[in-house]
């Protein structure tokens, strides 16, 4: 347990820097984490757009718009996952 603890920071992101099953598991978990961050936001965006479409009867525009917003949110979540300290500030342009 100590081996994978040392390679991970507070948000569960990791850089596997040693060998053995612990490192393999940490790497697999990290990859799975990034994938799920991206995919779930796209799913939520598309689902939200679909619901808005069936509510406002504007097929297919809301689905298209929210799908892209979902992709953006997915990348934002991924960015947040690897970069927890700096995620909430937009330093550029201030």
């Amino acid at each position: 347990m100590a081996s994978e603890k040392s390679s991970r920071d507070e948000t569960g992101s990791s850089k596997p820097d040693h060998t053995g099953p612990g490192a393999a598991a940490a790497g697999m978990s990290f990859g799975m984490r990034m994938a799920s961050e991206l995919v779930s936001a796209v799913m939520v965006g598309a689902g939200l757009g679909y619901l808005l479409d069936s509510w406002l009867e504007t097929q297919p525009w809301m689905t298209v718009v929210f799908l892209f917003l979902g992709v953006a949110a997915g990348f934002r979540n991924m960015y947040r996952a690897v970069n927890p300290d700096n995620s909430e500030r937009f330093k550029a342009g201030q």
Binding site: M1, K5, A26, S36, E37, A41, M43, G70
Partner: protein, 253 residues
């Protein structure tokens, strides 16, 4: 159920067979299906195993801990460390039992699912989804209780040009709503993927002739070790993200 019949004739590769939820005791109350399934039973067994472990670990607790007691203390201090470093302060103490319980439940279900012939409750999206929705509703409710309508400022990133608000606020809302989805999908996908790989490897080692079967068997043994780590790491990630969400709700960064 039908695939069980097919097993008799010739070995058939069906790596998803052990994810089937089977009703053991069918119960139907007021039109609701409350049957006791194999998933329920193995979740109970996980809880019972955890209860027995902590019962025996701290039965005759001493100042210098014995073997079981040190494992129990390590688990306790491990989660306490996560909670202290992410939530922090006196706030952390109030939510520690919930977070520790969540960690133990997820880890117990993950690990007990590695026993051959058992069922992994956390490989069901319904189970992980319920846990994640619980965390999500708890954290959101806590945020609104603590900050009132001010909690909605969560969706407006600080230091953002006004022009970008119509674009960024929907993105932030989607990103917030994606939290329970990614939390549940991650745990479910990790468990399902790992157990499917194990099932395929063991199937190969059972059906290949003698000169080939040791290779997938060796891989399966190694991968079982990896799965033990993954089970612990996934419980850890679930816990730490719960802490991050609770911390966001309390402090709103």
């Amino acid at each position: 159920m039908a695939s069980e019949v097919a097993h008799g004739a010739a070995p058939k590769l069906d790596p998803l067979h052990h994810f089937q939820v089977v009703k053991v005791v069918p119960i139907s109350l007021f039109g609701l299906d409350l049957s006791i399934t194999n998933s329920t039973i193995w979740m109970w067994l996980a809880i019972a195993a955890l209860y027995a472990f902590f019962h025996f670990a701290f039965k005759n607790s001493t100042k210098v801990p014995g073997r079981l007691q040190s494992v129990g203390e390590v688990l306790f201090l491990f989660v306490k460390g996560i909670v202290d470093s992410t939530v922090g302060g006196d706030e952390a103490k109030r939510y520690f039992p919930y977070i520790f319980g969540l960690f133990l439940l997820v880890m117990g279900c993950n690990l007990i699912g590695l026993i051959p012939g058992s069922f992994t409750a956390t490989s069901q999206l319904a189970v992980t989804g319920t846990l994640a929705m619980g965390v999500f509703i708890f954290a959101t409710g806590l945020g609104f209780k603590r900050h009132g309508a001010h909690y909605l400022h969560f969706f407006v990133p600080s230091g953002l040009p006004k022009l970008l608000l119509p674009l960024m606020v929907p993105i932030e809302i989607i990103s917030y709503l994606a939290r329970p989805v990614s939390l549940s999908v991650r745990l479910f996908a990790n468990m399902t993927a790992g157990h499917t790989v194990l099932a395929v490897l063991f199937f190969f080692s059972a059906t290949l002739p003698w000169f080939g079967n040791w290779l997938p068997f060796g891989f399966a043994v190694i991968f079982t070790a990896v799965e033990i780590f993954i089970g612990i790491i996934q419980a850890y990630i679930f816990t730490i993200l719960t802490c991050v969400y609770i911390n966001d709700a309390i402090h709103m960064h």
